[in-house]
Every structure is written in C-alpha cells, then in structure tokens.
Amino acid sequence: MATTTNYGWTTPDDTALVKDGAAAIRTLGSSVDTTTKNLNPSTTLGDIEYRSSTANTNTRLGIGSTGQVLTVAGGVPSWATSSSGGMTLLSTTTLTGANVTISSISQDYQSLHILITGVTNATSDGALRVRPDASTNNGSTGQVLGTNYHQFGNISLSFEQNMLRTSANNAFALDIFNYASTTTYKPFTFSGFYESSGPTDQYVIGGGGTSEISAIDSLFLFHGGGNFSTGTVRIYGVK
C-alpha cells in the first residue's frame, strides 16, 4: 500500500480498484483528521502548542494568568510568575506629632527602600531617628561612618548631628535588606543630606545592621527636637 512522504497516510495503489475508492478516501481522510488534531490539540482561547516527545504529536499548553511569563521548566515551556525586579510604592505617610509608627508593612518583598524628605520640627533642632519594628525599645542597631557610632535600637539618619528644625532642605534614603526574614539579622544602608545649625550643609552615608531576627513589619520615626512639623515618608517594596 502506498503512503505519503511526511505523515505516512495510506493512499490507493495505482492498481487499486475504483470500487474501493470510497473506502480509500475515508481511510485517508481519517488519517489526515487524526494527524491534524495531534498537531493542533488546542481547545481554549489562548492555548499554544509545543512539540512533545512523540513525533507528529504536540502538547497543549493552556494560557497562563495575568502577569505570567513564558519560561522553561523540565525542558518544556510553561507559564510562571515573573521573578524580575521592580519597586512598588507601599505607603506615603506625613510626619506629625511626637512620633510616627508606620505599621503592617507587607512582608512580600526582598527589601524595603524608604525615602524621607522635608522633615522639620516644631520645637528645636534634633537628630532624626528610625526604629525598625515600632514602639518597643528592644533590639539594637549599629552603624558606621568612619568610626563606630552605635545607636541602641535606632538608625540615626543624621548621626549625632542635630538637624536645623526650620529647614525642610533634607532628604534621606534608607534600604533595609532581608527585612521579612524571621531567622537572620537585617543589614541596612542609608545616605542623605540635611542642614545642621549654622546652617551648614551636611552629607551622610552609613550603614549597619539590626541584631534582631524577627521580621520588620513596622517603622517608628521620631525626632530629637520634639514634635514633627512636616515631613514625608515613602516606603517601597523591592522584589
């Protein structure tokens, strides 16, 4: 019996009888139908196919969900959630009062990027401080700029210097890494600019780490001068 070159469909021989034509066409059509379906197993909007380990037989891959990307797992294509980086604004907080607690920070990111700008004080000059994990005075942080400067439980963004209380010309960026971990300490880095009494421009860069292993889900901000007048804190989650 004759067959086609690529898919091996059976066709009538030259010597086949005309009376067997209907059966021959039916056999050929059936083979074409089977092969076509094997090559195109789609059933649903968004389906795609890829070659399986069996010749002339594709595997159906249903559409992924929104935001997923096509990747490879186990040697075949699949849809997966993107693991690429990016920052998401989690909150914007206006500073006021004697202190501010920013609570219930999402634990779904790798690190926190915190921008603090325009801080002024109602009473007097003072140092700006951030305490990871809110209102308790437990835990400790250390930070370094040239020489050791240690703050128990706090990150002092202006070190021991007092910020000029009336000047909103200040900005700080603080990154806390691995903040959601419940098993390891958390390193941090920061940099910033502010005006001290004088006024004199001050530039800071520093870093250190907390010696707490509990996850950081809140930040507690306070100012050595007393009540905040102005200031904005933006927290970004970084994947």
Partner: protein, 69 residues
C-alpha cells in the same frame, strides 16, 4: 496631664490614627527623650573640650581641618 500626640499609619488599610500616647508609650517616649538629652549633653561637652584644646594650642577649627586634610 495631656500626653504628646502620635500618628499611626496602617499601610495595609491606609488608615491613619492621630491620638495621645498611652501610658506605656509615654514611658518609652520619656526614655527616648532622656537618651537624646544625654547624647546632646555629651556632644556639647565634647565640643567644649575640643574648643578648649584648640584655644590652648592657638588654632582655629578651620586651621586644624587644613592640617588634618
């Protein structure tokens, strides 16, 4: 006695609460203030000591910076 006001911002609900400190929070606040005052006093004492040394050797702070720079 009226206690200082504080702000609490819940980032999940975006709820912002401004209220007086509780007694427990006020204790921590007082502890923080005492620590800050002690730091300030220490810094001032250091500055005075530094100025006294400079006066003794007859240099200004800027001149010393130039030497050390």
């Amino acid at each position: 006695m009226t206690k200082p006001m504080i702000r609490i911002h819940n980032t999940q609900t975006d709820e912002v609460i401004d209220r007086e400190m509780t007694a427990a929070e006020f204790k921590i606040y007082e502890k923080d203030q005492a620590a800050l005052a002690a730091e300030k006093a220490e810094a001032e004492a250091k500055a005075i000591a530094k100025a006294a040394i400079l006066a003794r050797i007859g240099l200004t702070a800027d001149e010393l910076k130039t030497i050390l720079g």
